[in-house]
């Protein structure tokens, strides 16, 4: 009973907070209160801030405009304005005061023959004359408008001047008053223009309520249920997802969140391509600043909020199953890691409501990013959100490390782990060693931006490329964090569909471990054109070249696995083989870029963009799409539609290559990345790329449709639809609540036969 009340109470609190946020008045003006640009200009010209070195109003200066109780139409009233108080509380005298008054309706005019008050030609406001600034009280007339059912806004500025010639030690303040007509209905709440977030929240609320009414109403009619019963039914469906610590649920939420952000990031990518469809001038489609935000958010979203969650979703789901454990070592920590992810993502995207999302590139190079003046305000949100994502990844890494080292089932020794598990183990080692460095760098950056510290302030003597060292020390292992699990997925799929054991299991493990170790000593290849120490750059060229060796071993082992096997070409397999091709191309261009003389010409150009999209999309994303086709039966108990899958692969593969291959050529022709416009001679190629990229985007809808369609209409899968060997195929599909009815023992083929 208590828990019921608590839950109601917490929901009540949540709703109250949401309402408070949306109802909270959001100020659009300056702290001075002067919001209207035109008024500000005339104020400065006519008697307020011209005497004042402070732009802020001084509250102790009392400005008093005497108004009638209300007004009748057409009538003329005499108004009196005086100022008093403040630091210069002096009597009238030479150069002691000034004023400025506006009315939103009706007509202000000086009293006839008054030499103290003037109405500048062509304006509607009143101000003092040069004689009038010897006084602190003025009177003038106001003729009411034709309508008397409205209200009129008066704004009066008073200037308290000390009589000295300079404008120092002069202060001013303003007073705004509303005067109602005799017939006006006085409204307690004034209607204000809605701010951006309010509009969004209201729009979402309207859509949500409409959808809710339709869906719940439909359910009530068709199922003939009472309103409460329908709601209870939904709550029952959602509640387990919100409160779960089960690795299978968390894993699926990770995967869905990852693909959800992948969709958002994809749309940002298409915005980039639309902008580059032709060489555009500033603001033709996106302004240059918006373009900078767009590619920043695209990169950040794709790496941190799409690729990594998809990987950790699969890891969450599969690692306990593959090592024969019931769950991860710290299930609650796991749930925390997950919930930090959508929250951090939302924080990063909050930047869009503050005048432009982060615009510093996903690398966030200082001193551009540490200077708060040039960047958009959303960059603060970008930093804050990234810190949350960093915390999430660190916790995940610890969780997996403990699970995989301590919780393996009998028979699952280290050298009998499936290769996907091995790839995750190496990945989490890399993660644990690298991501805290980035998080710390982000905290320093945040301190620089918000608290005025000087870690990256070059003028104060900071090392101008310190950030690059910190970032790439993390950033290079990061790209292997993203690609190694894809190697794991490929190893699993290629083995299973060749119906043979992997060729050279041991060398595969050592190859991955070697890549992991080398990844920490190659990061300098992102800095070949900086002024870093030439010896440092030379050494990382050597180590970068070395990465090709273990990577080559992996590719050749996959091909050798297939040779002599009996290959079944199902959707997961064609995705895996497509990945082998695209990843090989991306790997080769990686070696080309590793050579410093060539990199000097190609660095920060589209050749690099082509390279990392071949590796990240053609490698990671293709492999994990194959992974979805491969493990979907295990997760849902249903097979995915084979025809749609093959169609999805064929179109994706064609349009992917059509979109990204020409980027090599564009890059060789000298187009730098992060350019919102380009040389007109490259228009043809860019247009071709843009069209292919959009088609590549649309083709992914087939995938979404297939996932939803197969969930309802797919064939029953059974425990081991693909004849895989690892332990996840020994449990039912989907696995029972505790993952295994009893903890399995991994057998060994050699002993099996005897």
């Amino acid at each position: 009973m208590i828990t019921m009340n608590l839950r109601k109470l917490s929901i009540g609190f949540l709703i109250a907070i949401l309402v408070a946020i949306s109802a909270f008045p959001t100020g659009n003006g300056l702290p001075t209160g002067i919001t209207d640009q035109n008024t500000t200009d005339t104020v400065i010209a006519n008697g307020c801030t011209c005497h004042n070195t402070n732009t802020e109003a001084t509250s102790s200066v009392i400005v008093n405009l005497t108004l009638p109780e209300n007004f009748t139409s057409g009538e003329t009233y005499t108004l009196i304005l005086n100022i008093s108080g403040g630091p210069n509380d002096l009597a009238d005298g030479e150069n002691r005061g000034g004023f400025f008054v506006t009315a939103s309706d009706g007509e202000l005019s000086p009293t006839v023959n008054d030499t103290l008050v003037q109405k500048p030609f062509g304006f509607t406001h009143l101000t003092h004359t040069s004689e009038g600034n010897d006084y602190r009280e003025w009177s003038f007339e106001w003729t009411a408008p034709e309508k008397q059912d409205i209200s009129v806004e008066f704004v009066a500025y008073g200037n308290s001047v000390n009589g000295a010639d300079s404008s120092q030690n002069d202060y001013w303040n303003k007073q705004a008053t509303t005067l109602y007509g005799v017939d006006a209905v006085i409204e307690v709440e004034a209607h204000e223009e809605l701010s951006g977030p309010q509009k969004l929240i209201y729009a979402f609320a309207i859509i949500a309520v409409t959808l809710g009414v339709v869906v719940i109403g439909n359910r009530m009619v068709t199922k003939d249920q009472a309103f409460e019963d329908v709601l209870k039914g939904y709550w029952k469906a959602i509640y387990p997802w919100l409160t779960t610590t089960d690795h299978k649920y968390v894993g699926i939420m990770y995967i869905c969140t990852g693909f959800g952000w992948f969709f958002v990031g994809g749309i940002l990518g298409l915005l980039i391509r639309w902008q580059l469809m032709e060489p555009r001038i500033d603001g033709d489609f996106l302004t240059y600043e918006e373009y900078n935000s767009t590619f920043t958010m695209h990169g950040t979203t794709m790496i941190f909020m799409a690729a990594m969650p998809i990987i950790f979703g699969f890891a969450n789901y599969l690692i306990p199953l593959q090592i024969g454990a019931r769950d991860l070592a710290f299930p609650r920590l796991n749930a925390l890691s997950y919930w930090l992810l959508p929250t951090g993502g939302i924080v990063i995207y909050m930047g869009y409501f503050t005048g432009g999302a982060g615009d510093v590139g996903w690398t966030g190079y200082t001193p551009y990013s540490s200077g708060d003046t040039a960047t958009t305000p959303g960059t603060d949100f970008w930093v804050a959100g990234q810190i949350m994502l960093g915390a999430s990844s660190t916790l995940t890494a610890i969780n997996f490390l403990v699970t995989m080292l301590r919780m393996r089932a009998p028979g699952v020794t280290m050298m009998r782990l499936p290769l996907f598990s091995w790839s995750i183990l190496i990945t989490v080692f890399l993660l644990l060693l690298s991501i805290p460095v980035f998080t710390v760098a982000l905290i320093l950056l945040m301190a620089d931006r918000t608290f005025g510290t000087l870690y990256f302030n070059v003028e104060a003597g900071a090392d101008p490329i310190l950030w690059q060292h910190l970032f790439w020390y993390f950033g290079h292992p990061e790209v292997y964090i993203v690609i190694l699990p894809a190697f794991g997925v490929l190893s699993e799929i290629i083995t299973t569909f060749s119906r043979r054991p992997i060729f050279g299991y041991t060398s595969m493990v050592y190859a991955m471990a070697t890549i992991g170790i080398i990844s920490f000593i190659v990061y300098g290849h992102h800095m070949f054109t900086t002024g870093a120490d030439p010896l440092f750059r030379f050494i990382v060229m050597l180590t970068t070249m070395l990465v090709a060796v273990p990577t080559g071993i992996k590719i050749f082992n996959w091909l050798a696995t297939m040779t002599g096997g009996s290959i079944v070409l199902k959707t997961p397999m064609v995705f895996a083989l497509g990945t082998v091709i695209t990843f090989t191309i991306g790997g080769i261009t990686g070696i080309v870029l590793a050579s410093i003389p060539i990199d000097i010409a190609l660095h920060d150009g589209y050749f690099v963009v082509a390279h990392f999209h071949y590796v990240l999309v053609g490698g990671t994303i293709f492999a994990f799409m194959g992974g979805v086709y491969y493990w979907y039966p295990k997760m849902t108990g249903k097979m995915m539609n084979e025809k749609l899958g093959l169609l999805h692969f064929a179109l994706s593969f064609i349009f992917f290559n059509a979109a990204f291959y020409p980027m090599h050529n564009v890059g060789l022709s000298g187009m730098p990345r992060r350019y919102a416009t380009y040389d007109a001679s490259l228009t043809d190629l860019n247009e071709f790329i843009s069209i292919a990229a959009m088609l590549f985007g649309f083709v992914q809808l087939i995938f979404v449709y297939n996932v939803l369609y197969s969930y309802k209409n797919g064939e029953e899968a059974g425990d081991d639809p693909w004849d895989g060997w690892s332990l996840e195929w020994t449990t039912s599909s989907p696995p029972p609540h505790n993952s295994f009815t009893e903890i399995p023992t991994l057998k060994i083929a050699e002993e099996e036969k005897q």
Partner: protein, 244 residues
């Protein structure tokens, strides 16, 4: 140029043609990289296609003797000699590619000293423009008019010592660029020539160019490191002019 031609053909940055005479032709680094890339790529794809043609499962094929079984760790397959082969072969290949990178690297990093044989241009990058300053003792040749504008009669005016977003340098000389930044990171990038050097605040970076290796004419200078709103507008022209 048609789209198809664009996809096949492209202009190499001209510095690749001649890293001080060490790199041109099929022995040069660019051709070597290209040839080995194609060889490796074709090898992988050909092997993949070969597998797909000869080792497809047909209906009714019996299972292999070491076929996979759920819950059973499979037989270990491997062949030490083959595995060693494709460890050592790529190692040799990347060693070779590293070795051929050394000479051009040495050439690029061998920035000439500031002496009477070199023309030292001070390059200053600010958000979002390039400022070039010729040495004070350098007499601007009368041929240099590209960056100087025109007088009221329409005659070209000779360049000043300091020019904005426009640089004119003599052909057949050694040019040294001392590069500095006023505010944030930029990158000095001569597009067609393929020279790129980050511009780092508080740290002078260097680049150099032997203009006898390139043709006289007009070249583009871009900023290649993201530097804020008008990053893509931070462009300049480079003119290489023959001087008598």
């Amino acid at each position: 140029m048609s789209l198809i031609e664009d996809l096949i053909f492209f202009d190499n940055p001209s510095i690749w043609n001649n890293f001080g005479g060490t790199s041109s032709g099929f022995g040069g680094i660019v051709w070597q990289m290209f040839i080995w890339s194609v060889i490796v790529g074709v090898l992988v794809i050909a092997w993949l296609v070969y597998n797909l043609i000869y080792f497809r499962r047909k209906d009714g094929d019996p299972d292999h003797k070491d076929a996979l079984k759920a819950g059973v760790f499979p037989h270990e397959r491997g062949n030490t000699i083959i595995e060693l082969t494709w460890t050592i072969a790529p190692l040799l290949l990347v060693t070779w590619l590293t070795v051929i990178s050394l000479a051009p690297l040495n050439y690029l990093w061998d920035v000439p000293e500031e002496d009477e044989n070199t023309l030292t241009v001070e390059v200053l990058a600010v958000q979002w423009q390039w400022i070039f300053e010729m040495p004070s003792n350098y007499t601007i040749p009368s041929e240099f008019t590209k960056c100087g504008g025109v007088d009221q009669d329409g005659n070209p005016i000779q360049n000043m010592q300091i020019t904005y977003n426009c640089l004119e340098i003599p052909h057949d000389s050694i040019i040294r660029f001392n590069i500095n930044s006023e505010d944030v990171l930029h990158a000095f990038y001569i597009v067609e020539i393929g020279i790129k050097q980050d511009v780092v605040p508080n740290l002078q970076t260097l680049a150099w160019l032997d203009t006898s290796t390139v043709n006289p004419g007009e070249y583009n200078i871009y900023c290649a490191e993201m530097c804020g709103r008008s990053h893509s507008q931070m462009l300049a022209k480079l003119y290489i002019t023959e001087v008598a």
